[in-house]
Symmetry: none
Subunit: 219 residues, 2 copies
Protein backbone atom coordinates (compact mmCIF):
# COMPACT_ATOMS: atom_id res chain seq x y z
CA UNK A 1 0.00 0.00 0.00
CA UNK A 2 0.95 3.57 -0.60
CA UNK A 3 0.14 5.99 2.18
CA UNK A 4 0.22 9.70 2.61
CA UNK A 5 0.95 10.95 6.10
CA UNK A 6 0.06 14.56 6.80
CA UNK A 7 1.52 15.43 10.19
CA UNK A 8 3.51 18.39 11.38
CA UNK A 9 4.91 17.01 14.64
CA UNK A 10 8.38 15.78 13.82
CA UNK A 11 8.65 13.12 16.50
CA UNK A 12 5.24 11.60 16.08
CA UNK A 13 5.49 11.70 12.33
CA UNK A 14 8.74 9.82 12.41
CA UNK A 15 7.37 7.14 14.68
CA UNK A 16 4.32 6.64 12.49
CA UNK A 17 6.33 6.57 9.32
CA UNK A 18 8.73 4.01 10.69
CA UNK A 19 5.94 1.82 11.94
CA UNK A 20 4.13 1.84 8.64
CA UNK A 21 7.32 1.24 6.72
CA UNK A 22 8.10 -1.71 8.92
CA UNK A 23 4.85 -3.24 7.82
CA UNK A 24 5.90 -2.99 4.25
CA UNK A 25 3.92 0.03 3.12
CA UNK A 26 5.22 3.00 1.20
CA UNK A 27 4.83 6.30 3.01
CA UNK A 28 5.04 9.87 1.86
CA UNK A 29 5.25 12.21 4.79
CA UNK A 30 4.33 15.85 4.35
CA UNK A 31 4.24 18.42 7.10
CA UNK A 32 1.75 20.98 5.97
CA UNK A 33 -1.43 21.31 4.03
CA UNK A 34 -0.08 22.95 0.93
CA UNK A 35 2.32 20.08 0.39
CA UNK A 36 -0.42 17.61 1.11
CA UNK A 37 -2.63 19.31 -1.41
CA UNK A 38 0.11 19.21 -3.98
CA UNK A 39 0.91 15.57 -3.30
CA UNK A 40 -2.68 14.63 -3.87
CA UNK A 41 -2.69 16.23 -7.28
CA UNK A 42 0.13 14.04 -8.42
CA UNK A 43 -0.24 10.61 -6.95
CA UNK A 44 -2.85 8.04 -6.12
CA UNK A 45 -2.64 6.97 -2.53
CA UNK A 46 -4.37 3.99 -1.01
CA UNK A 47 -4.81 5.64 2.35
CA UNK A 48 -4.33 9.07 3.85
CA UNK A 49 -3.48 9.75 7.48
CA UNK A 50 -4.47 13.31 8.18
CA UNK A 51 -3.71 15.36 11.25
CA UNK A 52 -6.45 17.91 11.69
CA UNK A 53 -4.36 20.43 13.64
CA UNK A 54 -1.82 21.84 11.29
CA UNK A 55 0.05 25.15 11.42
CA UNK A 56 -1.21 26.36 8.09
CA UNK A 57 -4.90 25.62 8.30
CA UNK A 58 -7.59 23.11 9.04
CA UNK A 59 -7.30 19.60 7.72
CA UNK A 60 -11.07 19.40 7.44
CA UNK A 61 -10.95 21.71 4.47
CA UNK A 62 -8.53 19.45 2.68
CA UNK A 63 -10.73 16.50 3.47
CA UNK A 64 -13.81 18.23 2.12
CA UNK A 65 -11.92 19.21 -0.98
CA UNK A 66 -10.88 15.61 -1.53
CA UNK A 67 -14.41 14.32 -1.16
CA UNK A 68 -15.94 17.03 -3.26
CA UNK A 69 -13.62 16.12 -6.07
CA UNK A 70 -15.18 12.70 -5.99
CA UNK A 71 -12.09 11.01 -4.63
CA UNK A 72 -12.92 8.21 -2.22
CA UNK A 73 -9.45 7.34 -0.98
CA UNK A 74 -9.82 6.22 2.64
CA UNK A 75 -8.86 8.90 5.12
CA UNK A 76 -8.04 8.34 8.76
CA UNK A 77 -7.90 11.52 10.75
CA UNK A 78 -5.70 12.12 13.78
CA UNK A 79 -7.06 14.32 16.52
CA UNK A 80 -6.32 15.32 20.08
CA UNK A 81 -8.35 13.60 22.76
CA UNK A 82 -10.39 16.66 23.64
CA UNK A 83 -11.37 17.62 20.12
CA UNK A 84 -14.59 15.65 20.02
CA UNK A 85 -16.33 18.09 17.70
CA UNK A 86 -13.44 17.82 15.28
CA UNK A 87 -13.84 14.10 15.11
CA UNK A 88 -17.51 14.32 14.36
CA UNK A 89 -16.98 17.03 11.85
CA UNK A 90 -14.25 14.96 10.30
CA UNK A 91 -16.38 11.87 10.00
CA UNK A 92 -19.18 13.87 8.51
CA UNK A 93 -16.80 15.48 6.08
CA UNK A 94 -16.05 12.04 4.79
CA UNK A 95 -13.31 10.60 6.95
CA UNK A 96 -13.38 6.84 7.23
CA UNK A 97 -11.99 6.60 10.71
CA UNK A 98 -10.10 8.49 13.33
CA UNK A 99 -7.37 7.98 15.85
CA UNK A 100 -7.10 9.89 19.07
CA UNK A 101 -3.66 11.07 20.06
CA UNK A 102 -1.79 9.72 21.80
CA UNK A 103 -2.55 6.36 20.30
CA UNK A 104 -0.96 2.99 20.47
CA UNK A 105 0.98 1.96 17.41
CA UNK A 106 -0.63 -1.44 17.25
CA UNK A 107 -3.95 0.32 17.11
CA UNK A 108 -2.78 2.35 14.19
CA UNK A 109 -1.75 -0.84 12.44
CA UNK A 110 -5.09 -2.44 13.06
CA UNK A 111 -6.88 0.60 11.74
CA UNK A 112 -4.83 0.68 8.61
CA UNK A 113 -5.46 -3.00 8.08
CA UNK A 114 -9.19 -2.61 8.68
CA UNK A 115 -9.57 0.33 6.35
CA UNK A 116 -7.55 -1.20 3.59
CA UNK A 117 -9.47 -4.45 3.85
CA UNK A 118 -12.70 -2.54 3.49
CA UNK A 119 -11.63 -1.06 0.24
CA UNK A 120 -9.50 -3.74 -1.32
CA UNK A 121 -12.40 -6.06 -2.10
CA UNK A 122 -14.22 -4.00 -4.67
CA UNK A 123 -11.99 -1.47 -6.33
CA UNK A 124 -14.52 0.39 -8.38
CA UNK A 125 -17.85 -1.32 -8.77
CA UNK A 126 -19.92 0.04 -11.60
CA UNK A 127 -23.55 -0.89 -11.34
CA UNK A 128 -25.89 -0.99 -14.27
CA UNK A 129 -29.35 0.33 -13.61
CA UNK A 130 -31.40 0.09 -16.71
CA UNK A 131 -29.43 2.09 -19.23
CA UNK A 132 -27.53 3.93 -16.53
CA UNK A 133 -23.97 3.27 -15.48
CA UNK A 134 -23.51 4.10 -11.82
CA UNK A 135 -20.25 4.38 -9.95
CA UNK A 136 -21.32 4.41 -6.34
CA UNK A 137 -17.96 5.37 -4.93
CA UNK A 138 -17.43 8.24 -7.27
CA UNK A 139 -21.01 9.43 -7.11
CA UNK A 140 -21.05 9.37 -10.84
CA UNK A 141 -23.79 8.45 -13.27
CA UNK A 142 -23.76 8.28 -17.02
CA UNK A 143 -25.93 7.03 -19.81
CA UNK A 144 -24.30 5.95 -23.02
CA UNK A 145 -21.19 7.81 -22.04
CA UNK A 146 -23.02 11.02 -21.25
CA UNK A 147 -22.49 12.21 -17.69
CA UNK A 148 -25.52 13.04 -15.60
CA UNK A 149 -24.94 15.46 -12.78
CA UNK A 150 -26.99 15.16 -9.64
CA UNK A 151 -27.06 17.53 -6.71
CA UNK A 152 -26.43 16.20 -3.23
CA UNK A 153 -30.09 15.61 -2.44
CA UNK A 154 -30.81 14.12 -5.79
CA UNK A 155 -27.94 11.76 -5.33
CA UNK A 156 -29.03 10.79 -1.84
CA UNK A 157 -32.46 9.93 -3.13
CA UNK A 158 -31.05 7.97 -6.02
CA UNK A 159 -28.75 6.14 -3.65
CA UNK A 160 -31.68 5.06 -1.53
CA UNK A 161 -33.25 3.43 -4.55
CA UNK A 162 -29.98 1.85 -5.60
CA UNK A 163 -29.53 0.32 -2.19
CA UNK A 164 -32.95 -1.26 -2.28
CA UNK A 165 -33.41 -2.16 -5.90
CA UNK A 166 -36.95 -3.08 -6.81
CA UNK A 167 -38.26 -2.29 -3.37
CA UNK A 168 -41.10 0.07 -2.75
CA UNK A 169 -39.76 2.86 -0.57
CA UNK A 170 -42.27 4.98 1.25
CA UNK A 171 -41.90 8.70 1.45
CA UNK A 172 -41.05 8.49 5.11
CA UNK A 173 -38.39 5.90 4.45
CA UNK A 174 -36.92 8.18 1.83
CA UNK A 175 -37.05 11.08 4.23
CA UNK A 176 -35.13 9.02 6.74
CA UNK A 177 -32.52 8.41 4.13
CA UNK A 178 -32.23 12.02 3.08
CA UNK A 179 -32.40 13.57 6.51
CA UNK A 180 -30.38 11.21 8.61
CA UNK A 181 -30.82 12.66 12.03
CA UNK A 182 -34.47 12.83 12.76
CA UNK A 183 -35.06 16.11 11.01
CA UNK A 184 -38.72 16.43 10.24
CA UNK A 185 -39.98 17.53 6.93
CA UNK A 186 -43.39 19.01 6.43
CA UNK A 187 -43.93 19.35 2.76
CA UNK A 188 -43.81 17.38 -0.44
CA UNK A 189 -40.06 17.58 -0.77
CA UNK A 190 -39.75 13.94 -1.68
CA UNK A 191 -42.23 14.33 -4.49
CA UNK A 192 -40.31 17.30 -5.75
CA UNK A 193 -37.06 15.39 -5.78
CA UNK A 194 -38.59 12.39 -7.40
CA UNK A 195 -39.81 14.71 -10.06
CA UNK A 196 -36.33 16.13 -10.58
CA UNK A 197 -34.68 12.76 -10.60
CA UNK A 198 -37.06 11.58 -13.25
CA UNK A 199 -36.39 14.60 -15.36
CA UNK A 200 -32.68 13.92 -15.16
CA UNK A 201 -32.47 10.20 -15.53
CA UNK A 202 -35.79 8.51 -15.92
CA UNK A 203 -36.43 6.25 -18.78
CA UNK A 204 -39.34 4.80 -16.92
CA UNK A 205 -37.29 3.32 -14.11
CA UNK A 206 -38.75 5.34 -11.29
CA UNK A 207 -42.30 4.29 -10.82
CA UNK A 208 -44.94 5.49 -8.45
CA UNK A 209 -46.76 2.96 -6.32
CA UNK A 210 -49.74 4.98 -5.33
CA UNK A 211 -50.40 5.03 -1.63
CA UNK A 212 -47.17 3.23 -0.83
CA UNK A 213 -44.23 5.08 -2.29
CA UNK A 214 -41.83 4.71 -5.15
CA UNK A 215 -39.84 1.93 -6.70
CA UNK A 216 -36.92 1.84 -9.02
CA UNK A 217 -36.74 -1.00 -11.45
CA UNK A 218 -33.18 -2.02 -11.85
CA UNK A 219 -33.36 -4.14 -14.96
Amino acid sequence: MRLLLVEDAAGLGEVIRDQISDEGHAVDWVKNLSYADASLQVTQYDLILLDLMLPDGNGIDLLKKIRESGDTTPVIILTARDQLSDRIEGLNAGADDYLVKPFDLSELSARIAAVSRRYSGNPNPIIKVGTLDVDLNKHFISREGVAINLTAREWALFEAFIQHPGNVLSKSQLEDHLYAFGAEIESNTIEVYVSRLRKKLDKGQLETVRGLGYRMRSS
Copy 2:
Protein backbone atom coordinates in the same frame (compact mmCIF):
# COMPACT_ATOMS: atom_id res chain seq x y z
CA MET B 1 -32.06 1.24 8.40
CA ARG B 2 -32.47 -1.84 10.50
CA LEU B 3 -30.01 -2.25 13.35
CA LEU B 4 -29.19 -4.95 15.83
CA LEU B 5 -27.98 -3.76 19.21
CA VAL B 6 -26.20 -6.35 21.33
CA GLU B 7 -25.73 -4.81 24.76
CA ASP B 8 -26.35 -6.20 28.21
CA ALA B 9 -26.31 -2.99 30.23
CA ALA B 10 -29.95 -1.99 30.62
CA GLY B 11 -29.43 1.75 31.02
CA LEU B 12 -26.94 2.22 28.23
CA GLY B 13 -28.88 -0.04 25.92
CA GLU B 14 -31.99 1.99 26.43
CA VAL B 15 -30.24 5.27 25.73
CA ILE B 16 -28.71 3.92 22.57
CA ARG B 17 -31.93 2.37 21.38
CA ASP B 18 -33.86 5.57 21.93
CA GLN B 19 -31.27 7.64 20.15
CA ILE B 20 -31.25 5.37 17.14
CA SER B 21 -35.02 5.16 17.04
CA ASP B 22 -35.23 8.92 17.14
CA GLU B 23 -33.16 8.97 14.02
CA GLY B 24 -35.72 6.88 12.28
CA HIS B 25 -33.97 3.52 12.30
CA ALA B 26 -35.48 0.27 13.41
CA VAL B 27 -33.64 -1.33 16.32
CA ASP B 28 -33.69 -4.81 17.72
CA TRP B 29 -32.05 -4.94 21.12
CA VAL B 30 -30.78 -8.23 22.50
CA LYS B 31 -28.93 -8.66 25.74
CA ASN B 32 -26.80 -11.71 25.27
CA LEU B 33 -24.88 -13.54 22.67
CA SER B 34 -27.16 -16.50 22.18
CA TYR B 35 -30.03 -14.23 21.32
CA ALA B 36 -27.80 -12.23 19.05
CA ASP B 37 -26.73 -15.38 17.31
CA ALA B 38 -30.33 -16.41 16.86
CA SER B 39 -31.35 -12.99 15.59
CA LEU B 40 -28.69 -13.12 12.96
CA GLN B 41 -29.99 -16.36 11.60
CA VAL B 42 -33.35 -14.86 10.99
CA THR B 43 -32.97 -11.35 9.83
CA GLN B 44 -30.80 -9.26 7.65
CA TYR B 45 -29.60 -6.19 9.46
CA ASP B 46 -27.99 -3.16 7.95
CA LEU B 47 -25.73 -2.56 10.90
CA ILE B 48 -24.80 -4.33 14.11
CA LEU B 49 -23.73 -2.58 17.31
CA LEU B 50 -21.88 -5.13 19.35
CA ASP B 51 -20.74 -4.85 22.94
CA LEU B 52 -17.69 -7.01 23.36
CA MET B 53 -18.11 -7.59 27.08
CA LEU B 54 -21.14 -9.75 27.57
CA PRO B 55 -22.08 -12.05 30.43
CA ASP B 56 -22.26 -15.15 28.34
CA GLY B 57 -19.14 -14.96 26.28
CA ASN B 58 -16.92 -12.91 24.05
CA GLY B 59 -18.44 -10.85 21.26
CA ILE B 60 -15.34 -11.33 19.20
CA ASP B 61 -16.34 -14.92 18.58
CA LEU B 62 -19.71 -13.84 17.25
CA LEU B 63 -18.01 -11.31 15.05
CA LYS B 64 -15.63 -13.89 13.65
CA LYS B 65 -18.48 -16.25 13.03
CA ILE B 66 -20.34 -13.58 11.13
CA ARG B 67 -17.37 -12.80 8.96
CA GLU B 68 -16.51 -16.42 8.34
CA SER B 69 -20.00 -17.00 7.06
CA GLY B 70 -19.27 -14.46 4.39
CA ASP B 71 -21.62 -11.88 5.83
CA THR B 72 -20.35 -8.34 5.39
CA THR B 73 -22.92 -6.47 7.43
CA PRO B 74 -21.13 -3.52 9.02
CA VAL B 75 -20.31 -4.05 12.68
CA ILE B 76 -19.45 -1.34 15.17
CA ILE B 77 -18.06 -2.67 18.41
CA LEU B 78 -18.50 -1.03 21.79
CA THR B 79 -15.64 -1.36 24.26
CA ALA B 80 -14.48 0.05 27.54
CA ARG B 81 -11.74 2.63 27.41
CA ASP B 82 -9.10 0.40 28.84
CA GLN B 83 -9.70 -2.55 26.57
CA LEU B 84 -7.31 -1.48 23.88
CA SER B 85 -6.38 -4.99 22.90
CA ASP B 86 -10.05 -5.81 22.44
CA ARG B 87 -10.45 -2.98 20.05
CA ILE B 88 -7.56 -4.09 17.97
CA GLU B 89 -8.66 -7.68 18.06
CA GLY B 90 -12.13 -6.55 17.08
CA LEU B 91 -10.96 -4.57 14.11
CA ASN B 92 -8.85 -7.43 12.94
CA ALA B 93 -11.74 -9.80 13.35
CA GLY B 94 -13.63 -7.73 10.85
CA ALA B 95 -15.29 -4.91 12.77
CA ASP B 96 -15.80 -1.80 10.74
CA ASP B 97 -15.45 0.61 13.60
CA TYR B 98 -15.51 0.92 17.33
CA LEU B 99 -16.78 3.24 19.99
CA VAL B 100 -15.15 3.65 23.36
CA LYS B 101 -17.49 3.80 26.33
CA PRO B 102 -18.52 6.24 27.55
CA PHE B 103 -19.16 7.90 24.23
CA ASP B 104 -21.07 10.91 23.10
CA LEU B 105 -24.40 10.23 21.44
CA SER B 106 -23.65 12.58 18.58
CA GLU B 107 -20.54 10.57 18.00
CA LEU B 108 -22.59 7.42 17.81
CA SER B 109 -24.84 9.09 15.28
CA ALA B 110 -21.94 10.22 13.18
CA ARG B 111 -20.48 6.74 13.21
CA ILE B 112 -23.71 5.12 12.24
CA ALA B 113 -24.11 7.58 9.42
CA ALA B 114 -20.56 6.95 8.25
CA VAL B 115 -20.93 3.20 8.28
CA SER B 116 -24.39 3.18 6.81
CA ARG B 117 -23.11 4.97 3.73
CA ARG B 118 -21.87 1.65 2.54
CA TYR B 119 -24.67 -0.69 3.41
CA SER B 120 -26.43 -2.49 0.64
CA GLY B 121 -29.69 -4.19 -0.13
CA ASN B 122 -30.64 -7.79 0.50
CA PRO B 123 -32.40 -10.51 -1.38
CA ASN B 124 -36.06 -11.36 -1.15
CA PRO B 125 -38.18 -14.47 -1.15
CA ILE B 126 -40.23 -14.95 -4.28
CA ILE B 127 -43.40 -16.99 -4.11
CA LYS B 128 -44.83 -18.78 -7.09
CA VAL B 129 -48.60 -18.69 -7.41
CA GLY B 130 -49.62 -20.53 -10.49
CA THR B 131 -47.78 -18.77 -13.25
CA LEU B 132 -47.30 -15.68 -11.16
CA ASP B 133 -44.09 -14.65 -9.45
CA VAL B 134 -44.88 -12.79 -6.28
CA ASP B 135 -42.45 -10.82 -4.18
CA LEU B 136 -44.38 -10.01 -1.05
CA ASN B 137 -41.84 -7.59 0.39
CA LYS B 138 -41.49 -5.64 -2.77
CA HIS B 139 -45.21 -5.63 -3.50
CA PHE B 140 -44.36 -6.89 -6.89
CA ILE B 141 -46.05 -9.39 -9.16
CA SER B 142 -45.01 -10.55 -12.56
CA ARG B 143 -45.88 -13.23 -15.04
CA GLU B 144 -43.23 -14.42 -17.41
CA GLY B 145 -41.19 -11.37 -16.63
CA VAL B 146 -44.03 -8.96 -17.28
CA ALA B 147 -44.83 -6.71 -14.34
CA ILE B 148 -48.39 -6.52 -13.15
CA ASN B 149 -49.37 -3.39 -11.29
CA LEU B 150 -51.98 -3.58 -8.61
CA THR B 151 -53.55 -0.71 -6.74
CA ALA B 152 -53.45 -0.68 -2.95
CA ARG B 153 -56.87 -2.29 -2.58
CA GLU B 154 -56.22 -4.85 -5.24
CA TRP B 155 -52.99 -5.76 -3.55
CA ALA B 156 -54.66 -6.06 -0.18
CA LEU B 157 -57.20 -8.45 -1.60
CA PHE B 158 -54.56 -10.48 -3.36
CA GLU B 159 -52.57 -10.61 -0.16
CA ALA B 160 -55.53 -12.04 1.68
CA PHE B 161 -55.64 -14.92 -0.76
CA ILE B 162 -51.90 -15.40 -0.64
CA GLN B 163 -51.99 -15.67 3.11
CA HIS B 164 -54.65 -18.37 2.99
CA PRO B 165 -53.77 -20.39 -0.05
CA GLY B 166 -56.50 -22.76 -1.14
CA ASN B 167 -58.89 -21.51 1.51
CA VAL B 168 -62.35 -20.26 0.78
CA LEU B 169 -62.61 -16.70 2.03
CA SER B 170 -66.04 -15.20 2.57
CA LYS B 171 -66.86 -11.73 1.46
CA SER B 172 -67.07 -10.51 5.01
CA GLN B 173 -63.68 -12.00 5.80
CA LEU B 174 -62.26 -10.21 2.82
CA GLU B 175 -63.92 -6.99 3.89
CA ASP B 176 -62.31 -7.32 7.26
CA HIS B 177 -58.97 -7.67 5.55
CA LEU B 178 -59.46 -4.66 3.31
CA TYR B 179 -61.07 -2.26 5.69
CA ALA B 180 -60.43 -1.18 9.22
CA PHE B 181 -62.71 -2.62 11.85
CA GLY B 182 -66.14 -1.12 11.95
CA ALA B 183 -65.90 0.41 8.54
CA GLU B 184 -69.02 -0.86 6.92
CA ILE B 185 -69.34 -1.38 3.29
CA GLU B 186 -72.73 -1.30 1.68
CA SER B 187 -72.27 -2.45 -1.82
CA ASN B 188 -70.72 -5.21 -3.82
CA THR B 189 -67.24 -3.79 -3.48
CA ILE B 190 -65.62 -7.15 -2.96
CA GLU B 191 -67.19 -8.51 -6.08
CA VAL B 192 -65.95 -5.53 -7.98
CA TYR B 193 -62.42 -5.98 -6.74
CA VAL B 194 -62.43 -9.68 -7.41
CA SER B 195 -63.44 -8.79 -10.90
CA ARG B 196 -60.62 -6.29 -11.24
CA LEU B 197 -58.09 -8.72 -9.83
CA ARG B 198 -59.15 -11.38 -12.27
CA LYS B 199 -58.86 -9.04 -15.15
CA LYS B 200 -55.32 -8.23 -14.16
CA LEU B 201 -53.94 -11.58 -13.20
CA ASP B 202 -56.37 -14.42 -13.48
CA LYS B 203 -55.55 -17.44 -15.44
CA GLY B 204 -58.28 -19.30 -13.67
CA GLN B 205 -56.72 -19.11 -10.24
CA LEU B 206 -59.43 -17.09 -8.58
CA GLU B 207 -62.53 -19.19 -8.38
CA THR B 208 -65.94 -18.44 -7.03
CA VAL B 209 -67.48 -20.73 -4.46
CA ARG B 210 -71.09 -19.84 -4.79
CA GLY B 211 -72.73 -18.95 -1.53
CA LEU B 212 -69.49 -19.10 0.41
CA GLY B 213 -66.89 -16.84 -1.08
CA TYR B 214 -63.75 -17.09 -3.16
CA ARG B 215 -60.71 -19.27 -3.29
CA MET B 216 -57.37 -18.91 -4.94
CA ARG B 217 -55.68 -21.99 -6.25
CA SER B 218 -51.98 -21.67 -5.72
CA SER B 219 -50.71 -24.41 -7.96
